[in-house]
């Protein structure tokens, strides 16, 4: 059975000052299997972030519905962990307290909260930084903490909205490996939005390509690369072939939107 079912979800921004209403997302359907890692790939303005925010409950759909384990989604909740592109750690909390933020909402005792938080800090390689404030961390470390914070809540699904978009290339590559490693060990259902083709292939088991204006799903391509995936796989012929295909798809999507 599908973990997450997206049924004809669309988004229409209402008309303002006499202008036409803007369609950000055509009615879109997508089934996500349990423990799948799906990347949503598309140019900017294709509505991929809007779709993810609707699943996260941060925005309401104009039509259609989202079902998680068969239950309709209404509003944000701890069952859907969210990692943002911007740095969203709470600046007044340390790394450990940030990771434990959601656990307190669940009513866990403090000792247990801190134990889980320490454990997750270790899993994202920040064991030595638990008492640091966000401002003392690099961008990559902040995003690692944000991922740990979302996962510490044990969500049913992890939603990532271009989480590595603001990082430099080297850091980004390391973060991809770390995230993939966590996914291989923990078995999580993940939806990962990106505009980076290589990133979409490397971490994903399935790449959903979206086109812009209005946003809709254009292609749905399985990534048949074995796990665990070392970073060297990026130069393998299978990887390069997939990349060539996706480059074509994305180019076509952008050209179609511009004309």
């Amino acid at each position: 059975m599908s973990k997450l079912v997206i049924q004809n979800v669309g988004k229409l921004f209402p008309a303002q000052h006499g202008s036409e209403p803007t369609r950000a997302l055509m009615p879109t359907s997508l089934d996500v299997a349990d423990n799948d890692f799906i990347t949503i790939l598309g140019p900017s303005g294709c509505g991929k972030s809007t779709l993810l925010r609707i699943i996260g409950g941060l925005e309401t759909a104009s039509e259609g519905k989202v079902l998680l384990d068969g239950v309709p989604v209404s509003g944000p909740g701890a069952d859907r962990g969210f990692v943002f592109q911007s740095y969203t750690l709470f600046p007044w909390l340390t790394v450990q307290q940030n990771i434990a933020f959601g656990l307190r909402e669940k009513g866990l005792a403090e000792a247990e909260r801190l134990k889980i938080a320490r454990d997750w800090a270790g899993r994202v390689g920040l064991a030595g930084f638990v008492d640091h404030f966000p401002k003392q961390l690099s961008g990559g470390m902040q995003q690692r903490t944000a991922i740990a914070r979302a996962l510490a809540n044990a969500p049913k699904i992890l939603l990532l909205d271009e989480p590595f978009g603001a990082l430099d290339n080297q850091t980004r590559a390391l973060m991809q490996e770390m995230l993939l490693g966590i996914w291989e060990r923990e078995q999580k259902t993940v939806l990962f939005v990106t505009h980076d083709i290589e990133e979409a292939i490397f971490v994903g088991s399935r790449v959903v390509v979206m086109s812009a204006r209005p946003g809709r799903i254009k292609a749905d391509i399985a990534v048949d690369l074995p796990h665990p995936r070392p970073y060297t796989i990026k130069t393998s012929s299978a990887f390069v072939a997939l990349k060539e295909r996706l480059v074509e798809e994305i180019r076509a999507a952008i050209v179609a939107a511009d004309h």
Binding site: F84, T88, P91, R104, E105, K106
Partner: protein, 257 residues
Amino acid sequence: MKPLRPVSAPARLGYGLAFFALFVAFWSVATFGGYVQRLFLADPLTMVGEGWSLMTRYGFSFDIMMTIWRVVGGFVIAAIVALPLGILMGAYKPIEAFLEPFVSFARYLPASAFIPLLILWAGIGETQKLLVIFLGSVFQLILMIAVAVGSIRRDLVDAAYTLGAGDRSVVRRVLLPNAAPQIAEIFRLVLGWAWTYVIVAELIGSSSGIGHMITDSQALLNTGQIIFGIIVIGLIGLISDFLFKAVNQRLFPWAKL
């Protein structure tokens, strides 16, 4: 000098003291040099002498304590009223829409202009003095706290919701800690303003306090005492500012990192 280049801590202290020295030097030249009549402006030495006799013979320390107690008392009451109102206004937009227009209007009512009315209502006792301070600071505090609480990055609130926080939790665990350093800074600022109200309140209908001493000295044309009183107010302001800054840095280390 290069624009925006920082100065070292000792140099900063030196520059700061240098201006005070320059100020006193200018004052000395004006008074000792005979450019200004003694009747209008006492020289620095006379001022120190008058200050000494005020402290030792006329019990001026009691006046200082009275004034401090009035400022702090009125300000604390204002803060106790303003904090919950400001937080509610900042967090909940309907409450803001309800209160903001009135508070913005009331903010411009000059506290000193209320003194005659307050004397009519509350007499010339302590209540009237506290009310002047209260009226002068409460509306400013409410508005500034509301802005501080409301000015949070939207994505931090979104993040809290996706971590399972409820509406009240978002106010308590996100909006409040986010605004806390700014609120402390607002307290520091408005307390400074409260000092100007207390002196005005004491100039009229008072039997103690720094402002009262200043009016008495005016009747005796004792400019040395007046200047001493003004300098004491400045020093107290400097000390309270310093204390506030030290406490804020201790309480909110993350804000300055």
